[in-house]
């Protein structure tokens, strides 16, 4: 384990793990020890991580729901306006306002709005838009799991974090202020 430099302006301690269950255990223990887990970076979605980090429920579902309702309204308005009011179209003798015929387009637009807006909001919220300068840890998209702990004013924080990381088999511990 490399020695850790104590610098006054350093704000985060990061532990690098090779195994999924190690990082899960480390996160749990860190929170139990009263440390502030800033975020955990993993190559894939780790089952149980949300609970271990004590994350609040994502509000993305509400965004997706509202976007879906918008898509629904847009789909219905588009079709009813164009083929009932603005330019009534006779399709196979069916009434102008043939609701069943409007369902496929309405459905597609609901899904499209909901999906695209949810993904867009996810990327914006995570600051992962195109040309984003957000820093990526080496190998974290490949085979490493990184747990980042926020340092508070308490002097013992860093040692505590390093201890937790070491106990759960971290292969490396670094500090920095560029993680956000």
């Amino acid at each position: 384990m490399p020695a850790v430099n104590h610098q006054p302006n350093v704000r985060y301690t990061a532990g690098f793990f090779k195994r999924e269950r190690d990082v899960l255990a480390a996160v749990r223990e860190a929170r139990r020890a009263g440390l502030q887990v800033h975020d955990v970076y993993t190559p894939f979605a780790v089952h149980g991580m949300d609970g271990a980090m004590g994350l609040r429920r994502s509000r993305l579902t509400w965004i997706a729901f509202v976007a879906g309702v918008m898509g629904l309204a847009a789909g219905l308005t588009l079709q009813i306006w164009t083929s009932v009011y603005d330019w009534p179209l006779n399709v196979g003798g069916a009434p102008f306002n043939s609701f069943p015929l409007f369902i496929p387009v309405t459905f597609e637009l609901t899904v499209l709005f909901s999906g695209l807006i949810a993904i867009g909001m996810l990327l914006i919220r995570n600051r992962l838009w195109l040309f984003s300068k957000r820093r990526v840890f080496d190998r974290v998209t490949d085979d490493l799991f990184v747990c980042v702990i926020e340092q508070s004013d308490a002097a013992s924080d860093v040692e505590e974090a390093v201890k937790v990381f070491a106990k759960h088999g971290a292969i490396r511990v670094t500090e920095g202020d560029q993680f956000v």
């Binding site: 609970g51 429920r57 579902t61 069916a94 015929l101 369902i103």
Partner: protein, 396 residues
């Protein structure tokens, strides 16, 4: 008292009561109104057969997809599969009432009807019931093979049984995909022999699968409340809830696909199917209720994550889906034989009797083996499904 681990004395008596009620309804119908009784018999026989088949498809998909999470609940669909022979006998029993159900069994009607005489090579009594017997026998054979591997593994704990279950399931799914369309075309679609819809089999399958999973979920929750299946956690319920949520929507998707094309094309031999379902205010009411029970209500109930994880909400949604699927079959059969919209006492008493038969077969299956497949290599994975994190986090 044969099933004392699972049901109390009183419940056992209630079950016998339901069975007696069914027998009584059947006898009364036979005497007074057999034209109404037999379509209702077909409805209930097919309905409960689909629950057993849904469970079998569930088990097969579990094996083929290497699913780990569902191992703790696998014995429940396996026990439900046990109804298959009884259900098959009930389907074959419609032979005695075929003239009240299928118009094409009347020779004079076939002779005077050009369309029916062309279809007579397929729709004639001997070949119809021969096909039915063959298809049912194939399904039962696969059921026995699958169940046997599972029970053998309990005894000797060998890995080979998991492997062969996988192979049997894969073959069954293909065979089922080929036989079930034929079965649904034969048994249900030919109730109105001039009507045809190529998506009909898919439609039947969507109903079969969602109601099968709903029945599994209800029985799992029931056993969990009894305290005999404490291994099932919120995560397992959540997975079942997700499947039910998804497949009610799948049902709605197939429903609209069938309705929309028939509406659009406006061909008389196709539209008659829906015209009969919407002809009177009574039928139209049931037609709309069907959409609410099978999709809109369960969709809204199961939309939030928390509802899929809570016994009460999940149970409510599943019961609604089960009633909805019954109503769906009611709408597929009864309008086509010219019945009135009003649900008759025969439908309900036969439904009660078949419920009792189904539960007997199910309880017998449960008793046959341990509730957990103790030597299944996936059991640990299934038991550990997020078992630790929720309590600790305390946020959900």
């Amino acid at each position: 008292m044969p099933f004392k681990n699972f049901v109390s004395d009183r419940e056992h008596k209630a079950l016998m009561g339901l069975l007696a009620l069914g027998a009584l309804g059947f006898a009364a119908g036979l005497i007074s109104h057999s034209a109404r009784l037999w379509p209702s018999f077909l409805l209930n026989a097919f309905y409960f057969l689909t629950l057993a088949l849904g469970a079998m498809v569930f088990v097969s998909i579990h094996h083929v997809s290497n699913a780990g999470w569902s191992t703790v609940i696998r014995r429940i669909p396996e026990a439900m599969m046990g109804y298959l022979p009884l259900g098959a006998a009930m389907m074959l029993f419609t032979f005695f009432g075929r003239q009240a159900i299928y118009r094409w069994t009347h020779e004079d009607v076939v002779h005077s009807d050009g369309v029916l005489s062309v279809k007579a090579w397929l729709l004639n009594t001997p070949s119809f019931y021969a096909r039915m017997a063959i298809i049912l026998a194939i399904w039962i054979a696969f059921m026995v093979l699958l169940r046997r591997e599972s029970l053998w593994q309990d005894e000797d704990g060998r890995l080979e049984h998991t492997m062969s279950s996988k192979k049997i399931s894969a073959v069954f799914l293909v065979v089922f995909a080929l036989t079930f369309p034929l079965a649904s075309f034969d048994w249900l679609m030919s109730v109105e022999p001039e009507f045809y819809s190529t998506i009909y089999a898919f439609y039947c399958f969507s109903g079969l699968f969602v109601s099968g999973i709903a029945a599994i979920a209800i029985l799992v929750i029931w056993l969990r409340r009894r305290g005999v299946l404490p291994e099932v956690g919120e995560e397992h319920l959540h997975n079942l809830g997700k499947l039910i949520f998804g497949f009610t929507t799948f049902w709605a998707y197939i429903w609209i696909s069938q309705y929309l094309l028939i509406y659009y094309a406006n061909l008389p031999e196709e539209t008659i199917y829906y015209i009969r379902q919407m002809a009177t205010p009574g039928w139209y009411g049931l037609f709309l209720l069907n959409l609410f029970l099978n999709w809109i209500i369960p969709f809204v109930i199961l939309l939030p994550r928390s509802a899929k994880r809570r016994e009460g909400w999940l149970m409510t949604a599943c019961l609604i889906v089960l009633v909805g699927h019954w109503l769906d079959l009611y709408l597929m059969i009864l309008p086509q034989v010219g019945a009135a919209a009003m649900i008759s006492p025969y439908d309900l008493t036969l439904g009660a009797g078949f419920t009792a038969l189904f539960l007997y077969a199910f309880l017998r299956g449960l008793k046959q083996a341990a509730l957990l497949p103790v030597h299944d290599p996936y059991l640990q994975e299934s038991l550990a499904l997020h078992a630790h994190e929720e309590a600790e986090a305390g946020v959900y």
